[in-house]
Symmetry: C2
Subunit: 491 residues, 2 copies
């Protein structure tokens, strides 16, 4: 593809200045409209070294109100970022509603830079591409506009430009040995880049290839494409809606993950204490091995109100090194979080390599409380099963870590008993609210949502375990047992 | 001080378990009350290597609901943190209202680790101590409880413990050469630590020295002090109020920074263009030098509504390398930001070393809009002048960078003219709201606040420049001129 571009294209100087001035003005107008309509925009500018990425970026920024964009110049990940999966740092940088994020180099350059010559790369590349496509489609489905450019120059042109830069004392430091190394492998990279572009050129996030020998031509082409796409989106009748449902609404699968509230065996506090003591030693040791091998672990807790999540988490955490885990309590999103894709606030808390993140409620809120209470549309929660499966698979693939999920099941009677107990105990009254009683009245609708969730998101890479929690001692032991055996399976 | 501690103190095993169980329970109860009353708590656990910091931390955590605390194990700063002033990463980690932050090592260990043997350390140590005292006092004044512990063991005891750890394969990796190096300099560090503790043992953030030879004794002493301080705060009639005003209400200084809306000379768009072109070259070069020398710069824009901040910022930014600056637009704090000290959301945006942060409005909102509109108490805005001067001085000292502040002054008549113009121009209507008209009616009260702000916060390390902005061309040139000459003064 790149080889077929006509690199001799150029533009007249006088025409350039006039066109650019009018483009700038129009971009400003569109930016305000996008802001007022809460539509976020991502512009990705990629290209060969010395192809003019900074210059094109600068030209775009000149048309934007600086209060409404963030520029992300993508370079090597910092050390916090290195401890997270590949896309983590880009997820964190997706624009708030109504804002622009400009990426001068992006996940594409990093894909090329971080691995093309590493052993086993080809096997991993497909995972990487799948993750990128999921990422972009999920953002688009949430309403984000994504526009991507690749600035193309010939090998000869690149050599001329790098040599020029080396001669200028103000730019010489930019031309590092690795830049020359890249240049010498131009012909090796060409087909790899072509392939990467072809595989990620999607309807929701299309590529524009830019002939970049003439700087003015490149700027005008990029600008006019940006304006065209923004204009088209704003004129479309669905402009303010999120993307169409990419998932057809399907009936819930017929098979069910069985939910038993009561364990089959009797189990006392004493039995529990003994078992927990044994498991504790295993857990401490496993935690240490995970830490040394830099394997991260996510533990998700979901369950009925009063199913005992809090007490269970406290017990589980007690057997871990306090420096190696975090508990992330999830409640309703605050207004800052609402400015982003619904997954954003969870992905922020992905654990570092070697650490454990315990989510006390999670992204599954989308298909539980948000579904039942109508906090999101049917399209949104229907789409969420696929989105959740995708991010979980991407997480496991990219981090080399694990993800284990618990549903704490209790019977409706047991819940009532606990609610009453809480009301009577002054130390526990704070745990029970009117909302809990309201939720209880919707038990059947929640049960339907739970069944569909368990059936649709019980995957080999991120399995659900239903914990029989009518007996809280048994539940605590079962949870820790499951974690221990899951960790063993990771090693 | 440390040398006078009786390190032979110990506690009986049986008594220990019983006491600890009751302590845990009480801590849980206090935690819920603090949460309900929105009081944040910081616990700092410091001590010699192998003195039991992790163990004591673990014991405290056992009493806390994991959903209500964050543990920060403080180690070397990561590479993002290294590019910011010393206290930046700790500011980012102060607890939300109602939450606990436990620091297993903190700004104190880092103060010892990062510099005691560096050249010129003694001169910098006083700055560091001042900054820490300001930091802790400001948090206390905002309502945060701060409890600090130092775990003390003798040199001999430390040697025994390090040797033990080295023998155990599970802990041997913890004993690095630098730990032994620290041990060999135990006697050198002792007076330095004593001094650091003495200088930072304040009423609002007191130290407790802990005899830590007997592990159980250490845990019980730390626990009982934590409980005592929390109980005392909750029982105090002022528990929910922020700290008392540490600043006496003083009359505004009589001297005034003069504000002229109109430049003395006439000035046309053409004059502007020519001057800007010259300045642009200076600015690009200076920006490059700042970047190479890793000197950060903060530029603050404040001014009347319609004074032309937006256009001025756009022009100024146009002459900078887009990869080297960020514009930070400030509006009313969102609910997430309100969970923190009012300075937190600004400090987050401190620029990296070598970068420029342009604040479009800033922390001065505290003494302008928040004062005039009654969004904070008189105590709070009166205290803010000192707080702002302190953080600005700490910023300049710790980062080695600069801070330049602009007040864009226009006349009341010019503002009226611009408001009307905006209303008439369909492209500019978005810029004018009812709130602007409301603010305009309070012109005199805002003017009073502006005068007091300029008089009280015009410091040598962070000077104000009033920009005569009735002529917007002149204003843009004057701003850039000021930045260029200020940057020159930094080099």
């Amino acid at each position: 593809m790149l080889e077929n571009l006509d690199l001799s294209k150029q533009i007249d100087d006088k025409e350039f200045e006039k066109t650019l001035a009018s483009f700038r003005e129009e971009l400003g107008v569109l930016q305000r409209e996008l802001r007022d309509r809460n539509i976020p925009t991502i512009i990705v500018i990629e290209g060969w070294n010395a192809s003019g990425i900074t210059m094109v970026t600068h030209a775009i920024l000149q048309g934007l109100d600086p209060r409404g964009f963030t520029l992300h110049a993508t370079d090597n990940p910092n050390d916090e970022e290195q401890l997270r999966p590949f896309l983590w740092r880009f997820w964190l940088r997706v624009p708030n509603r109504g804002r622009f994020a400009i990426f001068a180099r992006s996940w594409y350059s990093r894909t090329l830079a971080e691995g093309t010559r590493k052993l086993g790369w080809k096997n991993r590349l497909q995972n990487r591409i799948d993750a990128i496509k999921n990422f972009e489609r999920q953002l688009r489905d949430d309403g984000t506009i994504i526009i991507k450019f690749f600035l193309h120059i010939s090998r000869e042109e690149q050599k001329v430009r790098l040599t020029e830069r080396e001669k200028n004392p103000l730019t010489a430091w930019l031309v590092t040995p690795s830049i020359w190394d890249f240049h010498h492998h131009y012909d090796d990279y060409l087909p790899v880049i072509d392939d990467l572009i072809a595989k990620t050129d999607t309807k929701h996030a299309p590529w524009t290839l830019v002939e970049a020998t003439d700087r003015r031509y490149a700027i005008i082409k990029v600008y006019s494409m940006v304006l065209k796409i923004l204009r088209k989106r704003l004129e479309s009748p669905d402009a303010d809606k999120n993307g169409e449902p990419k998932v057809e609404f399907v009936k819930p699968p017929k098979h069910r993950v069985k939910r038993h509230p009561a364990p089959k065996t009797s189990f006392t506090k004493n039995d529990c204490q003994e078992k927990l003591n044994t498991l504790q030693i295993d857990m401490l040791e496993l935690h240490y091995i995970l830490f040394k091998r830099k394997i991260p672990l996510i533990i998700v807790y979901e369950g009925w109100d009063a199913a005992g999540k809090g007490g269970n988490i406290t017990r589980t955490a007690r057997y871990m090194n306090p420096l190696g885990y975090d508990v992330i309590p999830i409640s309703a999103p605050n207004d800052y979080e609402k400015e982003h894709h619904y997954l954003w606030r969870f992905i922020r808390h992905y654990p570092r390599a070697g650490h454990i993140a315990i989510f006390d409620r999670s992204w599954y809120g989308r298909v539980l409380v948000e579904r039942v209470e109508g906090f999101c549309t049917e399209t949104e929660w229907q789409r969420a099963y696929q989105e959740i499966n995708e991010i979980e698979e991407d997480y496991v693939n990219a981090s080399g870590g694990g993800l284990v999920k618990f549903w704490l099941e209790i019977s409706k009677e047991e819940q009532l008993r606990r609610f009453r107990q809480r009301e009577e105990d002054p130390l526990k009254q704070y745990k029970i609210t009117k909302e809990d009683w309201r939720n209880r009245r919707k038990w059947d609708r929640y049960a339907e949502a739970v069944d569909e969730m368990l059936a649709r998101t019980n995957t080999p890479y991120a399995p659900w375990t239903v914990i029989e929690s009518d007996n809280k001692w048994y539940a605590r032991v079962r949870t820790l047992q499951t974690i221990v055996s899951y960790c063993n399976s990771l090693l």
